[in-house]
């Protein structure tokens, strides 16, 4: 039976993997998947704490986070499609009109 800290370690690992992926990967779809990974890492954290504390708040929040993640994916994919129509590429580096 894995302990609470095992779940927290899993969540921290997934979150770090997602963050590194956002920074290193250049494909917009992969970046979007990495963002989803970060949000789901948070969900594992929330459910673990909810179980540990015996309070339902964390699990309720998880449902909200899943909903928001779905909305984020919808908006993100819409932006990616528009970017592809204009530039025929979904590589983050190809979008460099605004030199920041």
């Amino acid at each position: 039976m894995p302990s609470t800290s095992d779940f927290l370690m899993l969540s921290a690992t997934l979150f770090t993997v997602g963050l590194i992926g956002v920074i290193l990967r250049r494909n917009m779809i992969t970046v979007l998947m990495c963002i989803e990974l970060m949000l789901n890492a948070v969900n594992i954290n929330l459910v673990t704490f909810s179980h540990m504390l015996g309070s339902l708040e964390g699990q309720i929040f998880t449902i909200f986070v899943i909903t928001v993640a779905a909305g984020e994916a919808a908006v993100g994919l819409a932006i990616i499609i528009q970017l592809y129509r204009l530039k025929s590429s979904i590589n983050v580096d190809d979008a460099r009109n605004l030199n920041g």
């Binding site: 954290n45 929040f61 909200f64 984020e72 993100g76 009109n97 605004l98």
Partner: protein, 487 residues
């Protein structure tokens, strides 16, 4: 929960219902009447404002009314910010009018998204639980991503939306991870329960990490260094009225959350987090102002100036005293109106979709549009903090709060950097009054004129007769300040 509780939610309900109606009107055949959208939106803002004012009578005599299992509360603090948000959205609506009609994009959906953003902002101001605050923040953020990319056939706009989206979602994931850690340590999402739990607790790593991640997420929303990289690109790429919205309304909402979360939930560990935030504030002021000097694009310059203003406002949170909280409220208001006035002038100078961008466009403006040039000077002086404009009052509160709290070095950095900022603000004044040139053509529509006049009135009234707004701000912040004094 009773029906009376639902009444406290009335402004948000009206905003959400109105936004949904605006969304379905084009489907029901309103597409052809695009010019009606503005009036529908303004009417919605008027009704929402009345509902906000009405909700204050419901809580008269009580300091705060937490409802819905202490997840949502109406108090003077939230009413102050909600009224500010409604005014900002109404002014952004006026700014958008000509811009939208020129580009032939659908107007109804645009205003619908603005109304949804308003709804999210109002939830942020009223949220007393981290759940409510996060949902409000996401509603605002998702609407902003779409609005930043609203000019979908412009590469710049789509690119701005993409950059804003990636960095925005990553920052909210970081904020969320912080919330989950705080929840794990304190056992609750409610700000007052968190505060109670923390008051009997010793500092520990998980909690400090959680608070820092939460602060990092919020610093992204207010565009503080080192979470500022998106700001210049998004302000330049997004449709100009949306840049105006992002630099005023969206930031004000983030400051409402920042102030409430830190003043209510985390006063117990003030010593631990204040130094980190002090470093962020100092960096924002230095990097923002120094980077703004070298910019030739006015929008980019305003973006860096807004980064530095995030630094000034952070002083109020770091100080953690009465003066600081009042400073945040008054400075947010002052900054919002000065900035909206400047964006109105930029919109006036437009040529095609993107104009009013270079400093050269402002050459000789006092001959072509004397009123606009004069008010622009007042707004720039206000941002620089020169008396007798409103900016001086705001900066006085913030800097005095920092000194009171023992952050004298930070106040010195802030004063020096304010002086540096006058350098690039005055460059625009020189271009408008001393340089000759044809510059860009001006189209000064009545709605732009109204936005300028209203912003000018607020900036001058707060500057010349500060007693009235200060009394209002003291009243609005008394409840939250009470908690800090109890500490």
């Amino acid at each position: 929960m009773t029906w009376a509780d639902t009444l406290l939610l009335l402004p948000e309900l009206i905003a959400a219902t109105g936004a949904s109606i605006l969304l379905i009107v084009p489907v029901l055949g309103g597409r052809a009447r695009g010019h009606m959208a503005k009036w529908a939106m303004l009417a919605l803002m008027a009704v929402t404002a009345l509902a906000v004012i009405g909700s204050t009578y419901a809580v008269a005599g009580v300091q705060q009314t937490p409802t819905f299992r202490a997840m949502f509360a109406v108090d003077a603090f939230s009413v102050f910010f909600k009224l500010l948000f409604v005014v900002v959205i109404a002014l952004v609506t006026l700014l958008s009018e000509d811009f939208l009609s020129e580009e032939r994009y659908s107007t109804w959906e645009y205003y619908s998204l603005l109304a949804f953003a308003l709804c999210g902002m109002m939830f942020m101001a009223s949220g007393v639980s981290l759940i409510t605050i996060y949902i409000g923040l996401e509603l605002l953020a998702l609407s902003s991503y779409i609005l930043a990319g609203y000019y979908k056939n412009h590469e710049e706009s789509t690119e701005a939306a993409m950059k804003y989206f990636i960095l925005g979602t990553v920052s909210s994931a970081i904020l969320l991870y912080g919330i989950s850690l705080i929840y794990g340590v304190c056992g609750s999402m409610r700000l007052s329960t968190i505060a109670a739990a923390l008051s009997t607790m010793l500092s520990n790593d998980a909690l400090m990490f959680g608070i820092m991640l939460l602060a990092a997420g919020l610093c992204f929303k207010i565009a503080a260094v080192p979470f500022h990289v998106w700001t210049p690109d998004v302000y330049v790429g997004a449709p100009t009225p949306i840049s105006a919205f992002l630099s005023t309304g969206s930031k004000a909402a983030a400051f409402a959350v920042f102030a409430r979360v830190f003043y209510v939930a985390f006063p117990a560990f003030h010593l631990d987090w204040s130094n980190v935030l002090a470093a962020i504030a100092a960096l924002s002021m230095i990097v923002g102002n120094l980077a703004a000097i070298t910019q030739t694009n006015v929008k980019r310059m305003l973006a860096y100036s807004s980064i530095s203003h995030a630094g000034y406002s952070l002083l109020g949170i770091i100080a953690m005293n009465e003066m600081g909280l009042r400073g945040i409220l008054i400075y947010t208001m002052v900054y919002v109106f000065a900035n909206l006035g400047i964006w109105a002038t930029i919109l006036m100078l437009r040529r095609h979709a993107y104009a009013g961008e270079s400093v050269e466009d402002f050459r000789g403006l006092h001959k072509r549009a004397p009123f606009a040039a004069f008010s622009m000077v007042v707004f720039l002086l206000s941002l620089g903090g020169i008396p007798p404009t409103a900016g001086f009052i705001g900066k006085y509160f913030l800097f005095a709060a920092a000194v009171q709290a023992g952050f004298g070095w930070l106040a010195i950095v802030a004063v020096v950097m304010s002086a540096v900022s006058m350098f690039y603000y005055l460059r625009l004044v020189v271009a408008m009054y001393l340089e000759e040139g044809s510059g860009a053509e001006t189209i000064y529509s009545p709605s732009l004129r109204f936005v300028t006049a209203l912003s000018l009135t607020v900036t001058l009234v707060v500057g010349f007769i500060p007693e009235l707004p200060i009394r209002q701000v003291i009243e609005s912040s008394s409840h939250l300040v009470g908690r800090v004094v109890q500490r």
